[in-house]
């Protein structure tokens, strides 16, 4: 990851060539140092300059999370450091929420959850925030949610999409169980569409079919794009029915 320099802090939301690599470098150093205040200042400053929130998520937060994972796997940072840095990013994401430039509501609902003991929730939170930005009403349940609770909430609120995420390969089985539970609850063959994502799905691109999902996305951007197609399709189908 590129290190930041004194001249790299210039950015403009109007520039098509803007790169947040230097911001990401500085942000990574900041969160590893445990400096919450500077980390939040850094990203809010970027957001206030006009850089889209989604770009900050993908080019700063997502890149830093990937880097944290790599550093931990190579034993270059401790578990404590990784948790510290991730917690700061969750704080920073919260601080950006009041800067969200929401699209008009599209009348769609999402339930997003990690199941089966899965604790790595930040990627899913990014997905939920992207949908929120796109005008969806998202019910983000976070880490380690019991499958039955996910299913009941999805049907209770009439969710259009359930997003399930896992970072750990050993939780793929639980995602599959959750998909089956959704498919067979109350109205077999009906119910919400299912979007899956997370590291194992990126490693094996056919895995989403194996678990029985409707969609897979390798990133928050991809998730919003692929389900966006559904949103338009459903809208036109509903229009035809009226």
């Amino acid at each position: 990851m590129k290190k930041s320099g004194p001249d790299d802090r210039t950015f403009s939301g109007n520039s098509t060539t803007v790169s947040l690599a230097s911001v990401a470098g500085e942000y990574l150093e900041t969160i590893l140092a445990g400096d919450r205040r500077h980390a939040v200042d850094l990203v809010t400053e970027v957001a206030d300059s006009g850089i889209p929130i989604k770009q900050i998520y993908t080019d700063v937060f997502q890149q830093c999370q990937f880097e944290l994972g790599r550093l931990w796997e190579e034993n270059r940072i401790t578990v404590a450091k990784e948790h510290l840095a991730t917690a700061i990013t969750q704080l920073a994401m919260s601080q950006l929420y009041n800067r969200f430039d929401f699209a008009d509501r599209v009348g769609k609902k999402m339930v997003a959850a990690c199941v089966g003991g899965e604790l790595h929730e930040i990627g899913l939170r990014m997905v939920a925030d992207f949908f929120e930005l796109d005008g969806w009403n998202t019910h983000y349940l976070g880490a380690n949610t019991p499958i039955r609770e996910v299913v009941e909430m999805a049907f209770d609120i009439g969710a259009d999409i359930v997003a399930l995420s896992t970072s750990m390969t050993f939780n793929v089985e639980k995602v599959r169980d959750a998909v089956e539970a959704i498919r067979t609850y109350r109205q077999p063959g009906g119910g919400p569409k299912i979007l899956v994502g997370g590291r194992p799905f990126n490693v094996e691109p056919t895995l989403w079919q194996y678990v029985g999902a409707d969609y897979f996305a390798a990133s928050a951007t991809g998730a919003a794009e692929s389900v966006g197609k559904l949103s338009h399709h459903s809208a036109s189908v509903e229009g035809e029915r009226r």
């Binding site: 796997e73 190579e74 034993n75 390969t169 050993f170 939780n171 793929v172 089985e173 599959r176 194992p200 490693v203 094996e204 056919t206 895995l207 194996y210």
Partner: protein, 136 residues
């Protein structure tokens, strides 16, 4: 072994999944990995081994029927990159997997064991031939 094994049947995976606790306990029983250690050290190693074996069991149960080696290859990468930092060299992991496979053979029906064992053998083969980058 070089080729990636054919996916096992659903019945074999179901038995493997349901009898995971027995397989893990049998592996620990058969392992001489921590026999020379005493007291707290033996307890720590046994605890780490159990956790690792439980994870291995869940990984294999999760993806045994997924065609293609990518997910298990990713676990090999994990074993050769991360586990040395937890005190387990690739040789140790391979030895533990061999014991795990032995336990599978002693726990599952012969027919189902014969379907699962090639996956573990493939993992052992990959771990013992993987470059040791990232270690140390």
């Amino acid at each position: 072994m070089s080729g990636f094994p054919a996916p096992p049947s659903s019945a074999a995976v179901a038995e493997f999944r349901d009898r995971g606790e027995e397989i893990v306990s049998k592996t620990l029983e058969l392992s001489d990995f921590y026999r020379g250690l005493e007291g707290e050290d033996a307890g720590i190693v046994a605890s780490k081994m159990r956790k690792g074996l439980e994870m291995t069991h869940r990984v294999v149960a999760s993806v045994a029927q997924v065609p293609g080696p990518a997910l298990l290859q990713d676990q090999v990468s994990w074993a050769t990159t991360r586990l040395p930092h937890e005190g387990f060299t690739p040789a140790m992991v391979a030895a533990n997997l061999a014991t795990f496979n032995d336990a599978i053979g002693r726990t599952l029906t012969a027919e189902h064991a014969a379907e699962i064992e090639p996956i573990i053998e493939w993992l052992i083969d990959q771990i013992t031939t993987a470059p040791s980058e990232g270690m140390g």
